[in-house]
Symmetry: none
Subunit: 106 residues, 2 copies
Amino acid sequence: MAKALKPTNDAVEILHRRTYEGRPARMKNLEEARANEQIALKIQELRAAAALTQTQLAKLIGTTASVICRLEDADYEGHSLAMLRRIAAALNRRVEIRFVPIRRSA
Amino acid sequence: MAKALKPTNDAVEILHRRTYEGRPARMKNLEEARANEQIALKIQELRAAAALTQTQLAKLIGTTASVICRLEDADYEGHSLAMLRRIAAALNRRVEIRFVPIRRSA
DNA sequence: CAGTCTATTCGCAATATTGCGAAAGAGCAA
DNA sequence: TTGCTCTTTCGCAATATTGCGAATAGACTG
């Protein structure tokens, strides 16, 4: 029968537990949801700053308004780098990606 | 600025030369290709900094080594936010996305 | 040399994202 | 009210990304 927590000095195993098993997936989803929300908001802001309607921006990047609307929905979870870049390019910007260290309090 | 070949120990510069020289097809989407390349490199760096093998990182995010290898390929064009976040989370980081204005001068 | 660990490439199925039209809601002005 | 513009939601097909094993190559050690 399996031990609840088998002894290990395998750093990978330990980190895996910490990341996926020991923790409710809720936290990760929360952070992700927040991030998605911010992306949606950012797209909205960029479009507004450029004084474009959803239809206009859609045409700029070669898609339709419903797609833009979906991207600006705070609950949308399907953001992709490809799409963000298309929008950025249309608005004369580039997508900068950084891996920022997280401070895990206690 | 001079674009003539000069001695360099800048890894990005070296990789850039190796990737683009003699491949005019790339010049079209140069910026995007370069961005993908930097992402690949960044993943490699993060993994190395964490002292992980591809297999170990793969297990951390619940996939296989071949997937990690693909992500670290400078020619890979399929980078997604979802995957970047999984990697970031495993390495105790978060993905920060910014739309930065493009300076086309000079 | 064999053995081990790591990295890379390939092919295809499974899943996720995008494309797109149609319909309807919201707001505003005449 | 009607008309107009913009936005939002829905469903499904088309495309893109991921999962994953197997095979290969490279580096290193004894």
